[in-house]
């Protein structure tokens, strides 16, 4: 069944790519990983289409955890999840965690074969209650 996938969504493509690099270097190759950043026509922002495509690239039957930076990235990610085909929708979560630390920690947890719920809970341990 593989490991839970990780999707990184930032307003900035550079931040998203850099975060993904950190995950790859610190955690390794065993976690499906995809990133997207920036508005559909360039500049800072987030695009539902790009998020949906990233979910697809990082897809795992065990599910996908999304890490986001600021408000628009979160709302667009939630929107992208809702627009997924029904059978996938329940297997994707947006984590309430800081993007860089959350991505590394979620990927570490995922690399050990944890469930989507465990991955999310571990990433969210970082957030102030």
């Amino acid at each position: 069944m593989g490991n839970v996938g990780i999707v990184i969504v930032s307003h900035s493509p550079d931040v998203a790519r850099g975060t993904a690099d950190m995950v790859r270097q610190m955690v390794g190759e065993e976690v499906p990983l995809a990133w997207c950043g920036g508005a559909s026509e360039g500049g800072l922002g987030s695009s539902v289409e790009a998020i949906a495509a990233a979910i697809d690239r990082a897809w795992s039957e065990k599910g996908v955890a999304i890490l986001v930076d600021l408000g628009g990235a979160e709302l667009n990610s939630e929107m992208a999840v809702e627009l997924l085909p029904h059978e996938r929708r329940g297997k994707v979560v947006v984590c309430n965690a800081p993007i860089v630390e959350g991505a590394v920690i979620a990927a570490t947890e995922a690399s050990g074969g944890a469930s989507l719920d465990e991955v999310r809970r571990t990433a969210e341990e970082l957030s102030p209650a």
Binding site: V27, I105, S111, G112, T122, E125
Partner: protein, 90 residues
């Protein structure tokens, strides 16, 4: 003895946690032989411990593969997390 240049920082923490997770035993470590004990499989707790350089890590484990787990973790620390060569580089 933890000789890693920056102490048990993010990347070594990830390696330690990932290795611990490969064992069935429950594994803890502490900065002294009497605790407090930290769950070595919890990446958040391992990172939050902020183990400084030159600390001595104590491991304890319970479960079927406890002996192998402790040995593997000690080896990892003694190998300087396989990244000694990276220390001191820009």
């Amino acid at each position: 003895m933890l000789t890693h240049a920056v102490g048990l920082h993010a990347r070594p923490s990830v390696k330690l946690t990932k290795l611990a997770k490969t064992f069935g035993a429950s594994i803890e470590f502490g900065l002294s032989g009497s605790g407090p004990w930290i769950d070595a499989k919890s990446i958040v707790k391992v990172m939050a411990t902020k183990v400084p350089q030159n600390s001595t890590l104590h491991f304890r484990a319970t479960g079927q593969d406890a002996g192998a787990a402790v040995q593997a973790l000690i080896d990892l620390v003694e190998r300087d997390f396989d990244e000694g060569a990276m220390n001191g580089e820009a």
